[in-house]
């Protein structure tokens, strides 16, 4: 796969396909993520969206932030939306009923719409091999309904359905390894990305569009409201989550795992790996863990991060 090369100027000059004027919160990283994703467009695109923050804040009738054809139907079916769009484009082009040009199909969904309610439609769509890119923008809880835990919420995090109680301090379970689950579907392209490393993110979007068949991109998308951090901190947090290896950056082309440069640098110099505490302390959702009583949760979280990092290094051939 040859990599698309671009300059910051070229990206800046590319037309915005996700427009300003939407009603996302101040400091909303998911909104930035959408803008960046569409900067990688290589031609005509049709997008579809699961129900979620960006869906509701970008399409309040009669306004829309989308400069491209866009459809939302429900919460659990973003991948089924894409299946229908892709199949229709294919057959209508074949029959000469629409212009014969390649149209990229992108399905966007949050963590709720991917890890939980949408995983059936997603698994089915990639098993069938539809040619589309699925973008998971992961803000690690049901933010649209008011910060409830999802399968993507990290261990120990406070949410409104995993409160920091006296008995149970936050979410007892661990984050589901969704991207690895997608690799197990034997699809041609899976990657993780963070908006702090925007160039890496855009490159990965383009790769996902270029492969034939399904591609899955897992993008971490911090939420100031739900994670409890000041609205200017989102991009910084997008960096620290990678530096602590809580969210390593990698890609799997035809199931061959490869670390992306920011995480590769840590793999080569393990002393660069920051303790998870540095990531947790800047967010209110983990505040309750910094007590004598609940400190063990941080240790547990560190243990699972280290275990998963080790597993990833092994998959990348760095033992």
């Amino acid at each position: 796969m040859s990599e698309w090369k671009f300059t910051i100027k070229e990206i800046a000059e590319k037309p915005e396909l996700f427009m300003s004027g939407h009603r996302a919160c101040a400091g909303c990283v998911p909104a930035t993520v959408h803008r960046l994703v569409l900067k990688a467009a290589r031609g005509p695109v049709i997008a579809t969206h699961a129900t979620g923050c960006i869906e509701v804040s970008s399409t309040i009738y009669p306004y829309t932030a989308w400069k491209i054809p866009w459809i939302h139907t429900a919460f659990e079916n973003a991948a089924a939306n894409a299946s229908g769009i892709e199949a229709a484009l294919r057959v209508l082009q074949r029959k000469g009923k629409i212009k014969n040009e390649h149209v990229d199909v992108i399905a966007f969904a949050g963590d709720g719409g991917t890890y939980d309610i949408g995983i059936q439609a997603l698994s089915g769509a990639v098993e069938r091999g539809h040619d589309f890119l699925y973008v998971l923008y992961d803000n690690e809880a049901y933010m649209n309904t008011g910060i409830q835990r999802s399968g993507g919420t990290p261990h120990g995090a406070w949410t409104t359905t995993s409160p920091a109680g006296k008995l149970i301090p936050g979410k007892p379970q661990f984050k589901k390894p969704i991207a690895e689950i997608m690799v197990a579907h034997e699809i041609p392209y899976v990657a993780t990305a963070s908006p702090y490393y925007w160039k890496d993110l855009i490159t990965k979007v383009r790769k996902g569009l270029e492969v034939e068949g399904p591609a899955f991109l897992h993008i971490i998308a911090p939420c100031p409201r739900g994670w409890r951090f000041p609205s200017e901190k989102g991009i910084e947090i997008s960096r620290i989550i990678v530096e602590t290896c809580m969210f390593p950056l990698w890609e799997a082309i035809d199931e061959e795992y490869k670390l992306s440069p920011p995480s590769k640098a840590i793999a080569l110099k393990p002393e660069k790996k920051k303790p998870v505490k540095e990531y947790l302390k800047i967010q209110g959702r983990f505040r309750h863990l910094f007590t004598l009583e609940h400190e063990h949760v941080i240790e547990e979280l560190q243990r699972i991060i280290d275990k998963r990092w080790k597993r990833l290094l092994k998959k990348c051939g760095i033992a």
Binding site: I46, H72, A82, G84, A88, L92
Partner: protein
């Protein structure tokens, strides 16, 4: 136009539906197997795998995704079809509303089947009756021939630029879906000519430009936005307006089809049988009407003024037509193959009593709930209903307004 010559094929209702879909130049079929619909997707898969159709057939992982994929395919501009039954339709429930709300002209066959629990694979109308308010046009076929004809008509109705509403065609599970019947088949080119290509009405996009109503890169539009208290209500009203317009379009399409195919089902909305001078009459949907007609013939031969009203189009409800058709009837027995637990009778009964509230002369209107879970509606039971109606007529008294018929009590 003259009626075209047609070949006769022995087919089950499901096969007849699959054949109609094959001839309708459908672009996308997305479906999931469920008894008693499965033969439709099996037959259609054969057409795809033998290269007899140019269709993208998406073997989805659930009915929820089946309807979703049909919806978005239709939004891109495809002619889309799916088929289901019972639990499958129930799983689609959410997307039924989304499909009609997005004004996606999807056509679906439903092999009517009971809802669980207990699980039962046989016929009743619980599955589609539940969805009567979902914004879909509902047509119920009496036999496999009508199922075939109705599917072809459904595409014309759904895609009509003044309508743009999805259509479901019900065929009674097993009674029709699995029973062989002689079905007259239109020539391929006749169906093609009758349907034509999809047309796209112009809509105003967010920039104020008039563009075709479809997802196309050259004219981007946003479908399925967040729509709050300032616009949602108007959009729902537009759906209701489209439903109202649909009555005329259904009649018109049915009439045009009759000119080519030579077959008519009443006016396309309702079918009456010896109803003009009838004193007692039953009302039913679907395959039961066939048996009722035989009973009516016998009663007539004995000089009893019996009649039948079959509702073919349940949504939109042909209010005017039903009112006129029942104007001389003195006792009406409404047959419901579904139960509205805790309500006053079954769903068809609700509508009929409701319609007759404004009639100048109020007939007796009673309800017979029958045939749940595939229980046979026999000639004997139908006779029993007419005897009951005769008794009501003679005594001018109704003992039980709602009865369950043909079961152990």
């Amino acid at each position: 136009m003259t009626v075209v010559e047609q070949k006769v094929l022995a087919m089950s209702g499901d096969e007849a539906v699959a054949y109609a879909v094959k001839q309708s130049d459908v672009d996308v079929v997305a479906a999931y197997p469920i008894t008693p619909q499965t033969i439709i997707v099996e037959k259609f898969s054969e057409y795809v795998h033998n290269g007899e159709v140019d269709t993208e057939f998406i073997c989805v992982e659930s009915e929820h995704s089946a309807l979703t994929a049909c919806l978005t395919a239709a939004a891109v501009g495809a002619r889309a079809f799916t088929a289901t039954a019972s639990a499958g339709l129930a799983l689609m429930h959410e997307i039924l509303y989304v499909t009609s709300g997005c004004r996606a002209p999807v056509v679906m066959a439903v092999a009517n089947r009971a809802l669980s629990a207990p699980i039962n694979i046989h016929c009743d109308h619980s599955d589609t009756m539940v969805e009567r308010d979902s914004g879909w046009i509902q047509i119920y076929a009496e036999n496999s021939q009508e199922a075939y004809d109705s599917i072809i008509q459904a595409f014309r109705i759904a895609e009509h630029p003044d309508i743009l509403l999805p259509v479901m065609v019900g065929l009674d599970g097993f009674f029709l879906s699995h029973t062989l019947e002689n079905v007259r088949i239109l020539p391929d080119e006749t169906v093609k000519g009758f349907l034509g290509n999809r047309k796209f009405p112009l809509v105003r996009n967010h920039e104020g430009k008039l563009v075709p109503f479809r997802l196309a890169p050259e004219n981007p539009i946003t479908i399925g936005p967040l729509d709050l208290y300032d616009y949602y209500f108007e959009h729902k009203r537009q759906q209701e307006e489209a439903m109202r317009r649909a009555s005329e379009i259904i009649k018109q399409v049915h009439g045009e089809y009759a000119n080519v195919g030579g077959r008519q089902y009443g006016d396309g909305l309702i079918e009456t049988y010896h109803l003009e001078d009838a004193e007692i009459a039953t009302i039913c949907l679907g395959s039961t009407a066939g048996t009722v007609k035989t009973v009516v013939d016998e009663l007539r031969s004995k000089g009893i003024k019996a009649g039948l009203l079959r509702i073919r189009t349940f949504r939109p409800l042909p209010v005017k037509e039903i009112t006129v058709a029942l104007k001389n009837v003195k006792a009406v027995g409404v047959m419901d193959r579904a139960c509205s637990f805790g309500g006053f009778g079954g769903p068809v009964f609700h509508e009929i009593r409701h319609i007759l509230y404004d009639a100048p002369v109020h007939p007796h209107v009673v309800n017979y709930i029958y045939g749940l879970g595939g229980r046979d509606m026999s000639y004997i039971l139908i006779n029993q209903i007419y005897r009951d109606l005769e008794r009501i007529l003679e005594t001018n008294r109704v003992e039980k307004k709602v009865q369950f018929i043909g079961l152990r009590e």
